[in-house]
Amino acid sequence: MKLMVSVKRVVDYNVRIQVKPDGSGVVTDGVKMSMNPFDEIAMEEALRIKEAGNAEEIIAVTIGEQKAQEQLRTALAMGADRAIHVEVDEDIQPLTAARVLKALADKEQPGMVLLGKQAIDDDQGQTGQMLAALWDRPQATFASKVDLDGQKAKVTREVDAGLETIEVDLPAVVTTDLRLNEPRYVKLPDIMKAKKKPIDTTSLADLGVEAAPGLKVTNTAPPPERQGGKKVESVDELVSELKNRGLI
């Protein structure tokens, strides 16, 4: 079976983001960009499925600007066999992303599509579920364990109550949580090898996908400031502060 993994270019998770003073968004110029950490986990899981002999090919997909090819190169260096770049200039809605992935799923017929449970830039957490809906296939979201068993998969999900296990028929959509695995580091020779692997470029129009009407972002503001920073010298002082504030 084939596996499809979607990866998104986002501001690196270590960056302390700055809101633009005019409220038009977040500063991304000159900021370190990386693969969304949850997508890295999705890539790693696909590699492990393939290495266990349960898949033959891994296709990495990104939807984004020209520079998003850097993240596809990372995916290829990790071990994806080939990549598809759906080039768009503007930010797209999760529903549009899901339509793109659905069109690619129709074309490539993967046995599983793996995605991060959310992207750490806009934190919307929708694309996987939307793809599953449009594709009319099962969704196993927030996965912390994936066991393949022929045409089925058993997936353990991190839910508020604890750990839920469901069984889904393949093909299915899996979205990854942090504890699914620890992604491997890419080594220099793999980066060199990845340069020779193919990246196909396509567009919404080529795929026959119509962009969904968007959410209009009218303002971006920093969160309310908190006045922190007060230190106490001892446990006794802490106890009296808590008492003074009526907290205990």
Partner: protein, 313 residues
Amino acid sequence: MAKVLLIADHDGENLNPTTPKAVACAADFSPEALDVAVFVSGDNGVADQAAKLDGVSRVLRIDNPANEHCLAAMLAPQIVKMAADYTHVLVAGSTFGKDLMARVAALLGVLQVSDIMKVESDYVFQRPIYAGNAITTVEAPSDQVLCGTVRAASYQAAGEGNSASVEDISVDAELPDHTRFVSVETHKSDRPDLQTAPRVVSGGRGVGSGENFDIIYKLADKINAGVGASRAAVDAGYVPNDMQVGQTGKIIAPELYIAVGISGAIQHWAGIKDAGTIVAINKDEEAPIFEVADLGLVADLFDAVPELEQKLG
């Protein structure tokens, strides 16, 4: 005027504590109707709990064996059928709500607004991005059903002075058989629920082991607090995943939050920034948690926590 359908999150016995908060958000629309849909297989009182919530017009109970485990794949086609009568379909942004609502939205062919933290008008909302490090104001199209998840930590639970009617309805939708529930592993605890407790004590990697977490539990029990943890503490296996606080764990807003042996990464901070008073106990005076904590104590937690527990007696 908005007509809101709110999907209840519950475990078959009790409403999830995020649902009364989502009702409070829905009430902010001043809707002409606010109906709560309760999908159950044999009702154990969940619908009655929902009927008590202030602002609710009607509780619609959909009793069907297929609803037993509240799987998104089963519920979504039913909600799509019901959505035709509403302008807004909402759910709390719990793992249940996040899993479910995007599937509903895509089936309806509409977008979703995730993590609504403020309703400015029927189609204008505030929502956080970048783990809450920026707040956006977003405007959704008004010519389609609006699907949304509610950031529960931004709302106070709706009161329980209502007695809305409970109506049994049947929804005729084709349900898939490709998704099956296998099991759920929960860690029952007698401590206050992490998501609603007015006081929470959390431990991080600094606590060092599962056994050492006992000092966290003892302190929590002394002040009747819920217990949380950082991702590092969960990853290291000190405590189960349902205790994780942060961007990818639970987002909470207790009156008092005590962070013990937690460095204060932005992803952890994202889960506690609505807390009333934040106390940090950390032996590293440079730890970023001190920049945001209201009260910081630079100390070894193995000395300070037992002492604090004792002196709070």
